[in-house]
């Protein structure tokens, strides 16, 4: 008596499963790039003699691909189909370095590549959107001077979405980050003037 599965039956089952698997609706993913505006022209970079960038620390829930939406107080949900194009930690680092440089009108380099006396560091504590159409950014930064003295600042702002959807949320978050970079630039200039 033959109890084994016949090869024909096995091929039929596999074909059936394949058809079932391919029968789903195709997913439409969206990827967003966190980048500064393109510079006006190409030029050489000169490390600032006054300012340097220490580091950007990002809250772990932010450092993931999907854009974060707070669906209820204390409950967030990363989007599956709306994702950042690159890891947030590196993207935030590069974005803030470029925008702070633009704010102080000097090329701010990482601390390891600069001898500048004033070094700023940033922690992004919250960066997400809400169901009622706001983008939220909570951040802290501190400036360390020559004598290791520290000056700390806090940034907490929301910005309403210009339209519905994750693209508007990405734009709003980028606008908040631009405002944060501008504030950091002002505080650096102020610290340099005070010194």
């Amino acid at each position: 008596m033959n109890t084994g599965i016949q090869p024909v039956k096995l091929a039929t089952i596999a074909l059936g499963l394949l058809l079932v698997a391919c029968s789903g609706t195709p997913v439409d993913n969206h990827y967003y790039l966190l980048r500064s505006e393109l510079p006006e022209q190409s030029r050489g970079l000169t490390p600032s003699s006054r300012f340097a960038m220490g580091g950007v620390n990002v809250a772990p829930y932010i450092d993931q691909a999907g854009l974060i939406l707070e669906v209820s107080p204390g409950q967030v949900r990363p989007a599956r189909h709306h994702q950042w194009a690159e890891p947030m930690a590196g993207a935030l680092n590069n974005f803030l370095m470029v925008e702070v440089s633009r704010a102080v009108r000097e090329d701010v380099f990482p601390e390891a590549a600069s001898d500048a006396p004033l070094v700023y560091s940033v922690r992004i504590d919250q960066l997400h959107g809400t169901l009622d159409g706001d983008a939220l950014l909570v951040a802290y930064w501190w400036i360390r001077g020559n004598n290791q003295e520290l000056v700390s600042y806090q940034f907490t702002e929301t910005r309403a979405l210009a339209r519905d959807g994750y693209a508007a949320l990405a734009d709003a978050q980028k606008a908040l980050l631009l405002e944060l970079a501008r504030r950091i630039g002002e505080s650096l200039l102020e610290a340099d003037g005070a010194g």
Binding site: H81, L131, D132, G133, L161
Partner: protein
């Protein structure tokens, strides 16, 4: 009627005519007696010559009052001088004592003084300087060849100064104390016995109170010019002392006041002020130290020190006394010890150098210290002061481990026991070490050392062969190449290297894969058939812009 009868008296009466002769006789007797009683003494004064003397003319004066007259001038019996007979007034007879002095006053003109000009008109006269009046009337005197500079009864202090050479000090020179004239040199003569110049000086009162046993006298005549590392030092006295000479006195630096001095006390006359500083102490005492060591380099004047503090000097080596003590006799008799007869050395120690007063009482105190110190270990040692020149000195110190001894007496001086010291002790120790070396098994040690050296030679030979091996010689090059390779490898792993960047990118990709795996796991956990059946996940909630 009665008739008066004459009363006849028998007897002889003196004729009044004799009254006058008797009165004249009595007057004559009175005059003779009075003349005898009030007649001044007749004295004789011996002079070297009769210059200025004239019988019946030359007067004797005291305080410019005539108190006598030369009545006769004649040669002495031996014709070596002149003897003048002087009739003195009666009322000065009490002044004619043994210390009464006479001298002829004539006109004198010199650098130091001008005197006796009145004798140019009145003629020479004899001046008397009365004595103290003690003792019987004296009638024989010897005149001074020169006028005394100080009256015999002048208050003050007369001292004797002894100088090594005549120098420029002479009679009449000033005695100076801190630039002020307080006395004079009365006489200067050469003492044949001591072979030194002897000066008699007189310090006027009240300046005589400045003189005590600690003062020093030095010659201030002329100009003293000394050159040293500190520059030129010029010392001069007053103008008259520069021109005429003089003697100054005072306490040397660091010398305390001494005892009062009696008239006639002898002091050393130093050549200069600096000389008083070199040896500023007067009081001291002699001691004897006998050594059995070699005394070469120990010369008179060598220092005697107590723990490095100068206390005195070596006077001399007492060879004559040693001979007198009978060393030669002992040697002749064969009684000399194995170490030989110790050689006595006379030393002179001054208590003033130990900040004690420079007095005789301090000398006694120092002697007492020595005599009580010797039983407690005070010993003298022969030390080498200069290894190049071999100059030696005598050191004093306490050695508690020294053999018991008492301060003895040798040649009339206190003897301080001696022990070997300084280089001598070192030499003794070196000799002891050499003795031990001599007793050591040198030959056996050398044999062992030779064997050890032979073994070492073999080891070195083997090591040489090993080093000459081609593989061993190539080892450094191989090691260097290995290190270079290691450096290259490490450079490839450095943060800026391509490998590091590739590794970093791979890690990011791995992280992303793990994240996707996490998402897949979560999906399968929520819907186990999601791998086969399409997952029906809710769509992403859409954020809505506020109206």
């Amino acid at each position: 009627m009665t008739t008066a009868q004459p009363e006849l008296k028998q007897g002889r009466s003196l004729n009044p005519i004799w009254i006058i002769p008797l009165l004249a006789l009595a007057l004559g007797v009175y005059m003779v007696v009075h003349s005898f009683m009030t007649e001044g003494p007749e004295i004789t004064i011996a002079f070297e010559n009769a210059s200025g003397l004239s019988a019946g003319k030359t007067k004797v004066r005291y305080r410019n009052v005539e108190v006598g007259l030369v009545t006769d001038v004649k040669l002495t019996e031996d014709f070596q001088g002149v003897e003048a007979t002087v009739k003195m007034d009666y009322h000065v007879r009490d002044l004619l004592s043994a210390d009464t002095r006479f001298w002829v006053v004539t006109a004198q003109v010199g650098l130091g003084n001008v005197s006796g000009l009145d004798t140019l008109l009145s003629g020479a006269y004899i001046r008397m300087s009365p004595g103290t009046g003690d003792g019987p009337l004296q009638k024989q005197f010897t005149a001074l060849p020169k006028p005394p500079l100080t009256p015999a009864d002048a208050p003050g202090l007369r001292l004797q100064l002894l100088g090594n050479r005549a120098g420029s000090v002479s009679t009449g020179d000033a005695i100076i104390y801190k630039g002020y004239r307080v006395g004079r040199v009365e006489s200067a003569e050469f003492d044949i016995e001591q072979e030194r110049m002897r000066y008699e000086v007189f310090i006027d009162a009240p300046f005589d109170e400045l003189v005590d046993s600690s003062v020093r006298f030095w010659n201030t005549s002329g100009i003293s010019l000394t050159a040293s590392a500190e520059g030129l030092n010029v010392r001069t006295g007053s103008l008259d002392t520069v021109l005429l000479g003089g003697v100054a006195f005072g306490h040397p630096d660091g010398v305390l006041e001494g005892d009062d001095v009696e008239p006639g006390t002898e002091f050393q006359l130093y050549e200069s002020y600096e000389a008083t500083q070199q040896n500023p102490f007067v009081n001291g005492s002699y001691y004897v130290v006998r050594f059995t060591q070699n005394l070469k380099g120990l010369v008179p004047g060598a220092p005697v020190e107590y723990r490095g503090i100068p206390m005195g000097r070596v006077e001399r080596i007492m060879l004559n006394e040693l001979i007198a003590e009978g060393m030669l006799a002992d040697r002749m008799a064969g009684e000399v010890t194995a170490e030989g007869e110790p050689i006595p050395v006379l030393i002179y120690m001054e208590p003033g150098r130990m900040s004690l007063p420079d007095t005789a009482s301090s000398v006694g105190l120092l002697q007492q210290v020595v005599q009580t110190g010797v039983p407690n270990g005070l010993r003298a040692t022969l030390e080498t002061g200069n290894l190049l020149t071999g100059a030696k000195y005598i050191g004093l110190d306490y050695y508690p481990d020294a053999d018991a001894a008492q301060a003895g007496e040798w040649g009339g001086y206190i003897e301080i026991p001696s022990i070997g010291g300084g280089v001598e002790q070192i030499m003794v120790k070196v000799n002891a070490i050499l003795d031990q070396v001599n007793r050591a098994p040198i030959e056996e040690t050398i044999a062992n050392a030779n064997a050890a050296i032979a073994d070492l030679d073999e080891v070195l030979q083997g090591l040489g062969e090993l080093l000459n091996d081609e593989g061993m010689q190539a080892l450094p090059a191989n090691l260097d190449a290995t290190i270079r390779e290691l450096q290259k490898t490490l450079e490839g792993l450095s943060p800026g290297s391509e490998l590091y960047r590739n590794l970093n990118a791979s890690m990011r990709q791995l992280n992303r894969t793990l994240a996707n795996m996490e998402s897949l796991t979560r999906t399968l956990s929520n819907q186990p058939n999601a791998a086969i059946m399409p997952a029906k996940l809710p769509p992403d909630p859409e954020p809505e812009a506020p109206q």
